[in-house]
């Protein structure tokens, strides 16, 4: 399954979507909004997406995990405003063998960060910043 939503993410939903009785393991990656970034104190984030393209790009990641590893993968991504401690992204990969699940899950989150058109605005105690790759640009 894939999901882009303004609602709180439920990691268990990602697990349930991919686990079968034939699977011996799952690896779950959860990205969470932390209270600091680049030396600044962060209070929250706002995620923006080029939604139709983001959905297609996430679907491609799920398809690639199937093609490359023959494993099931589910990806949930939060949009809109989100506070410290809440999950921004959830990726679950289930399979029979653990090493493949680790590889596929790490590949999926690395690829998501590179290839899925989603951006975040960071609300920090000293200002608001657009995060664009390594750049933090003061928001107007």
């Amino acid at each position: 399954m894939i999901l882009l939503t303004d609602d709180i993410l439920d990691p268990q939903q990602a697990v349930d979507a991919v686990m079968t009785n034939a699977d011996g393991a799952y690896v779950l990656f959860v990205g969470v909004v932390r209270n600091h970034s680049r030396g600044r104190s962060v209070t929250g984030l706002e995620y923006q997406a080029y939604r139709p393209m983001a959905i297609r790009q996430i679907e491609r990641i799920v398809e690639s995990v199937k093609e490359k590893w023959n494993l099931r993968c589910s990806i949930l991504h939060r949009l809109g405003h989100i506070i410290v401690g809440e999950a921004s992204v959830v990726i679950c990969v289930a399979g029979a063998h653990r090493a493949e699940c680790f590889d596929a899950c790490e590949w999926a989150i690395d690829t998501l960060k590179e290839e899925v058109p989603i951006w975040k605005k960071e609300f920090a105690t000293d200002g608001t910043f657009w995060i664009e790759g390594e750049d933090a640009i003061v928001a107007q």
Partner: protein, 80 residues
Amino acid sequence: MNIQTLFFGHYRDFAPESLTLEVPPGTSVAEVAGRFAEKDSRFADLIKRTRVAVNGEFASPDCMLSEGDEVAFLPPMSGG
């Protein structure tokens, strides 16, 4: 012909999310970017800083546009 442009990230602070533009047939993505740069120096680095998508698929700045195309300028992404 008419095309549509989409901006994201910090460009959204001074560009409309979506804009319909009239351009001559055979206009490339880079030429569209050039038009914005001419009007406002904050777009000067548009092609250098962004990847481009045409109709939701990554495309080259050389890509020739057709009537009704949707051109998105995608700054370095920060999802996840």
